[in-house]
Subunit: 226 residues, 4 copies
Amino acid sequence: MKEITRTPVVILNFKTYLESTGEKALNLAKFSEEVANETGINIIVVPQHADLLRVSNEVKIPVFAQHVDAVEAGGHTGSVLLESVKMAGASGTLLNHSEYRMKLADIQKTVEMSYNYEMVSVMCTNNIETSIASATLQPNFVAIEPPELIGSGIPVSQAEPEIVEDTVDAIHKINTKIGVLCGAGISTADDMQAALDLGSDGVLLASGIILADDPKKALFNLVSKI
Amino acid sequence: MKEITRTPVVILNFKTYLESTGEKALNLAKFSEEVANETGINIIVVPQHADLLRVSNEVKIPVFAQHVDAVEAGGHTGSVLLESVKMAGASGTLLNHSEYRMKLADIQKTVEMSYNYEMVSVMCTNNIETSIASATLQPNFVAIEPPELIGSGIPVSQAEPEIVEDTVDAIHKINTKIGVLCGAGISTADDMQAALDLGSDGVLLASGIILADDPKKALFNLVSKI
Amino acid sequence: MKEITRTPVVILNFKTYLESTGEKALNLAKFSEEVANETGINIIVVPQHADLLRVSNEVKIPVFAQHVDAVEAGGHTGSVLLESVKMAGASGTLLNHSEYRMKLADIQKTVEMSYNYEMVSVMCTNNIETSIASATLQPNFVAIEPPELIGSGIPVSQAEPEIVEDTVDAIHKINTKIGVLCGAGISTADDMQAALDLGSDGVLLASGIILADDPKKALFNLVSKI
Amino acid sequence: MKEITRTPVVILNFKTYLESTGEKALNLAKFSEEVANETGINIIVVPQHADLLRVSNEVKIPVFAQHVDAVEAGGHTGSVLLESVKMAGASGTLLNHSEYRMKLADIQKTVEMSYNYEMVSVMCTNNIETSIASATLQPNFVAIEPPELIGSGIPVSQAEPEIVEDTVDAIHKINTKIGVLCGAGISTADDMQAALDLGSDGVLLASGIILADDPKKALFNLVSKI
């Protein structure tokens, strides 16, 4: 549940941008840690699988995986085993990201596996209906990202505030301990503030910071009004 | 082409066994290096994505990835970017493993990307027909693994020697520089020897070593008659 | 909701058996209609896409599709458009069958599309957790099929009766109008009776009838104790 | 091989447009037959799975499926069994369409199954490399469709004539009996003529006809200069 993660929270998804791969992933994680330390905000970084160890070895803020597969240890060449990302330093994982939609049966299994391995699960969803369905599976967080706003620069917290409010309400009817994150188009301090005002516990974002002219400054700005 | 990799070659696929994840991946890689150094055989280790850096930082033998996705840098959360595994120390990658079959268009794209990034590509195939089709895409290696023999303990080099010979012939008609590997049921020195006698350039194997009572001894035995 | 379909209901999935393809699909549907007429039981037949028209043209019992894709009219070569199966006579569809698991986002979309097109939606699930998640999406039916029992000949209604009861309870807490079906290992009158006694509204079955020595007799037997 | 299908050939893919679903699929097929009869051109129609029987019952021109799955008869709910589309009147099938890319292993299997069932196989490809790989699998036709031109209205035969010529050459080096089709952006008589002049055996097209103001007229025009 969200209580295992301090809120408000900023989850920074590194995606597969070159700007956040390899050494650049490490740099991004290091200044995310600086911002976290200076502001007291809980910032979580989410590098690619191959960068998890590099990042988790060098920073003390939480490091999450971008995805884990619904497989158990065995013959699954190429798949992402939950144990492998945990051993590489991940303390949580995104699931069902809009760029990696999962089957319902696999979502349920990976949430259960995450719980069993004491990993934080952040389930991404595309609308209120799938957010409610996801919440019944008891992930720690649901991050709602209306697909039409992803990468648009238009924050869901401003474009469709009622979606955020309604999702928060609906999820909390199922379990008040499930955190709700806003996850599309967020990049400014106002977006962040609006997300919190609508009842969410934080944001999931990527390009708004990673592709900014000055990512560190963008991240500082993001959390400057909290 | 295969000339960029010394043959005969033994490619040890770590799959997602717990016996080859995290610290155990590193141990496995270290004694693989010892065997390689003592015997002079070219042994390549293939850990999971999250273990690539851990392994490549500590051993000097080649480290390959188990898979890369046909994506370019950008918004592909959860996917495996070729650049990310290269920066984590991989100098090659398996593609189209029987446990991770790929679309033809993606196979072509990842072989081309591997070539452009100077990564060795090892294409797994299930029969002669797909081996020939794969060879036209000019990977460095084709590893043929008849699905009925995978994990069977029955080596393809003994059960279906004509498949190996015919595949070697067919692939060399396309390009003599493409290496051919035997990849199912291999575990003993006789299997290895038979594979080479049939004209292949080495083997791709996993459980025969990794799940052996004494993996290091099993690996020594494997290459003892070459 | 289930009230649009008379219960108890027997849904006969033709799968892709040759015994239920082409003319044989039609024969199977015709005697299913005979059994329905003689016994008064609501029997629904579920042939392959290419057999829908053949069957729906000749029988008056309901005909469902085995799957529809989450696509809207347009450029989706090879996909199964809901409108196409409806125009071919289907008045409902299975979704997320264990042999065709779907992504959560696609499940939600196809249930919504089914509702908009007045098609009955039958969501297949593998355990209580996914049944609850599915029920929040408001399909007409949820058919629970524990994967370990599918094709086993061991009926879920006898092997794991508490799963059926608990699923019925959990789903009815969400919406009492959602029907619950038992769907694994069902083949006899006792299985059917047990399914109803546990609170379900009927059964989803396939091989128990289709691969029986005398399918018509097997179907008569199935509903003989209701 | 292509000799089993008279060339030049026009393959009209109905996709999942509403304009080519249900009764409209039948209308489209009927006037395609009229144009074929009046002009002597070999026109093949490719409706959705659920429309195959409706169309094949009413027209004498060849009817192809849009896709078949690499499954054999058995428990594959929702999949498209080759036998089912054949029994519904299909005498051939598209494979690996850009909107339904297939795994290499499945492509090989479905081409082999098509051959065994005397179905014409039309393999769609995206570039020269995948066209060559596909040709080694010995389908009857390879239809090259550069993805950037699909639905663009810019014909591959004019935008990238060298791709068509090079593909024809490369495929004929493998087997002169494999037909080559042009498949992106084709809609006019000039496009068609250019395709044939470049050495192809015909065209695969969809929106250029189906979404035309007057599809019948558009189809007449298309073949008017051959």
